[in-house]
Subunit: 605 residues, 2 copies
Amino acid sequence: MPAYKAPLRDMRFLLNEVFDYPAHYASIPNGKDADPETVSAILDECAKYCEEVLSPINLSGDVEGCKFENGKVTTPAGFKDAYDQFVAGGWQGLSHPTEYGGQGMPMSMGLFKTEMVGTANWSFAMYPGLSLGAMNTIMQHASEALKNTYMPPLTEGRWSGTMCLTEPHCGTDLGQVKTKAEDNGDGTYSVTGTKIFISAGEHDLAENIVHIVLARLPGAPAGTRGISLFIIPKHLPAADGSVGPFNNVVCSSIEHKMGIKASATCVINFEGAKAWLIAEPNKGLEAMFTFMNTARIGTAIQGICHAELSYQGALRYAKDRRSMRAVSGKKEPDKVADALIHHADVRRMLLTQRAIAEGGRAMIYHCAQFADHMVNGILENDPAKYKKWDDKLGFYTPILKGFLTELGLEAANQGVQVFGGHGYIKEHGMEQIARDARIATIYEGTTGIQALDLLGRKVLIMTRGGAVREFTTLVGKFAVDNMRNPKMRSFATTLAKYAAEWNLLTMRIMLMARKDRDVVSAACNHFLMYSGYVMMAYFWALQASVASEKLAKGGSESEEFYKAKIATARFYFDHLLPRAKGHATSMVKPSKSIMKMPIESFVFE
Amino acid sequence: MPAYKAPLRDMRFLLNEVFDYPAHYASIPNGKDADPETVSAILDECAKYCEEVLSPINLSGDVEGCKFENGKVTTPAGFKDAYDQFVAGGWQGLSHPTEYGGQGMPMSMGLFKTEMVGTANWSFAMYPGLSLGAMNTIMQHASEALKNTYMPPLTEGRWSGTMCLTEPHCGTDLGQVKTKAEDNGDGTYSVTGTKIFISAGEHDLAENIVHIVLARLPGAPAGTRGISLFIIPKHLPAADGSVGPFNNVVCSSIEHKMGIKASATCVINFEGAKAWLIAEPNKGLEAMFTFMNTARIGTAIQGICHAELSYQGALRYAKDRRSMRAVSGKKEPDKVADALIHHADVRRMLLTQRAIAEGGRAMIYHCAQFADHMVNGILENDPAKYKKWDDKLGFYTPILKGFLTELGLEAANQGVQVFGGHGYIKEHGMEQIARDARIATIYEGTTGIQALDLLGRKVLIMTRGGAVREFTTLVGKFAVDNMRNPKMRSFATTLAKYAAEWNLLTMRIMLMARKDRDVVSAACNHFLMYSGYVMMAYFWALQASVASEKLAKGGSESEEFYKAKIATARFYFDHLLPRAKGHATSMVKPSKSIMKMPIESFVFE
């Protein structure tokens, strides 16, 4: 497994030079303490923890995996100790309110932390990651009493949390949930049912596990409108805040998965477990989905995590391993052969990984500011503010989650490819990254669901193309501003063309969809990928323009860094962005090329 | 793991309706016995064996894996029995000469068999597959005495074979081989060295293992011109044809791999093992590479194997699993939700898999006829004939191997995606297909090597664009022939445009490469993928045209089959072929967008 080195220079470039986080933090209520020195110190400290504690147990965690015996899950060697250090460092509550024991930093700091923790060891990151989901749901929807009971130990990390949605017969289609809740008449409920694919559902890291569970009340309407949300602790909380009696929450098995093997994926049986309702009855799905946008950005980060780690591994190998001579002549004549990095096709793979990792990171950092505002809407009890920023984030979310996880998987596979046969064997860890990356396009809403959410909901229904117009206005303005700069002209021209085309395609699909509703589902994957490529192009051009300004000023210590930014942007525009052309062509094809074939023709003969 | 059902209808469509194999077999010397009835009976028998014997041990083989203890490898439960049946059925020698005990069928029959065996169980297919490599090398290059010793037990399958090329420090770059051969002065040699990644290097299936080994003679020139080829049996053959004394060929470990876990990948130490030279001294690499084109087509087949198997699994699941309602309205109103197959985006994934499997199969069947002629050139001792057909095959080989294995991996990943979270866990076998598929773009020459071979060697150096002109002439003729047919016009027009563009792009790259040799390596991956998409388009249009003719005639029992062919062709043209546009744009970008960045800028900060 490649040793992880946190890309702090790149993170600081985005924070301070591209997106001006110091000004952003100064402008938000909970950003006062996030002054540049504090932010910098937190990033350094987090990097150190990730590099020294989490990275070394990434490969061993995969090899050992989680063990299940008599309802208990044992995490791999080193995980408990690493988690204790995580708790001691206060990392779980970094972005949560001080009243519950958190550090009160803005939400974005939590996302930057997630990237480092997740790159060093994604399996580990799943445990605190699921806790965040539970904490956010409780924070927004639970009563004060429940918050006071559960938020402090969850914020500390002494307890951990889960999200229990999926059942054996349904994952995406939660309207089919069958788990039952009965009213005990004392303000509590009894919940019975089986949930599957519960990440961090059972483990040995925390004292108690707090499940957020979707279930049906008696007589609830069928489908999505009859689902309520409950909080169900594995052990009932004692009055003094310690862990009380067992609450009939049983882990009956763990899954054997392709990857993220150190993350326990559990079948959880609720056997008449005592539960508390959060949010209104039958409005559980809405409540569950309020934090969906941030949760999905958390998963989008997984794309860049795997791209970054695989790039780091592939780059070291490409400098070290010697094979053949470069097509343009010997580069290292005194050596038995040239290092892989001298071969253009290997560089193409390395630059693809780099462009995905750094381009994706810029997309995340852009959206993290919206997440800060959105979360502050919740903390300030200002629903209008919450909605405004949640809506804004809502356009980016499916693009980031859908596109970045697909590209993260590609980048991870390129890393295997750079290693050749050695990439396929376990010892270098490159194949593990590809296996770990494979889940990201599936959970937290598959790529297909993201694509439908983007095109169907966010673009067509909610904004009638307005979301695309708003983003492309930003792109258009950038293009105009940069058109006269000879260093930026080619980027600006290309961007302006794509911005116009994106709107045109949106309009064409809107018109097509009026006559043929299948068009939306038939076109959505191409629309998602197209949107991703064009959006990432903007963020690459933006980075190139900042780098170009800095170089023009001269005298920087980071000249090589800035030049590399511009070169990677050039690579992106020449070698990845053109893929958008294929998607542009395909998305406006009639839906019948997908829907015409009768189901009877889908057979093996 | 999806139960495998051999796609016999599709295979017969290609054999009898698209490529006229009956006429082809009637025209070649060793095709006399391959009359339609015999061919049909062989395919049925092979399908039965694959479905009933090999498919059921595919998942269990992955879970159990190979075991290594004290130099011995134990294959998973059922493998030895399946191999015994393989031997008893005469499958190893299906396409090898009757004088050695084979069935004397044309080479192409062996390729069709490989597809079925490999789809049912790719790990199993590796054992007889490597034997074929050894047999072919011996048949073409060894002395009569060696042939008489080794060919009969290898053809029977009582012994198996390997190809020992890779060493710890070199795989692609075989000029770095260090294994040493010393002349014993009695017509034999002593070989010492370590080979890695030796598939089927040690196992419990056969009585003896015959290694074909690259090594250096004393004083041999450095690099690729100083490598010789040896035959080294694990046990020396006794005079009566049985297994004699151990020959100091030691398996010191097996690799822990991402996939194909039931295939033993061995480290083999030759510790002064007795060896016989085959082919001329220092011409080992040339000899090793003579059968390279057929070996690479064998690996290209792996792409369609995984696409087919993953499609079969995903299709069954998509018909069975219910989730949400189709965007265009309820399709199964009496059910709790619509089956996945009613969702356009799921169909897009299924059709992608199908288009890859069936399109790739057509490409293989087209080339298999060239392989027949080429092999007959060897059997007839007619070097000119051999060279003519080997050259012809040489243009297709890198496209088939490079492109089909990349798309096979994509198709396998789509199958995981159709299953959602269930695709990521082991029990359904979908993730195994994705892991098994991952090696195919790496071994037998990585995609990068195929791309360089195609653009650099086959297109630019050997034929100065002639290979592309020859193929596109075929495409152009097809387009002209079909332009007046209203059912085919749209396919024909699109094909004609791509054929013209392909030549134009080739010429542009040729001109660019004159001034900048890095262009070849910078452009080759895009050129390979572009070539693959356009070539597959031709074979889809060809299938559509045959299907369209049959439908026009009317009265066929296979109307649904033909309609599905046309619909899948339409899908391919609308949703996969447009990807070629991105590659067309990128391949003619200046090489500096890849090569400009100094190595010093490839750092983590």
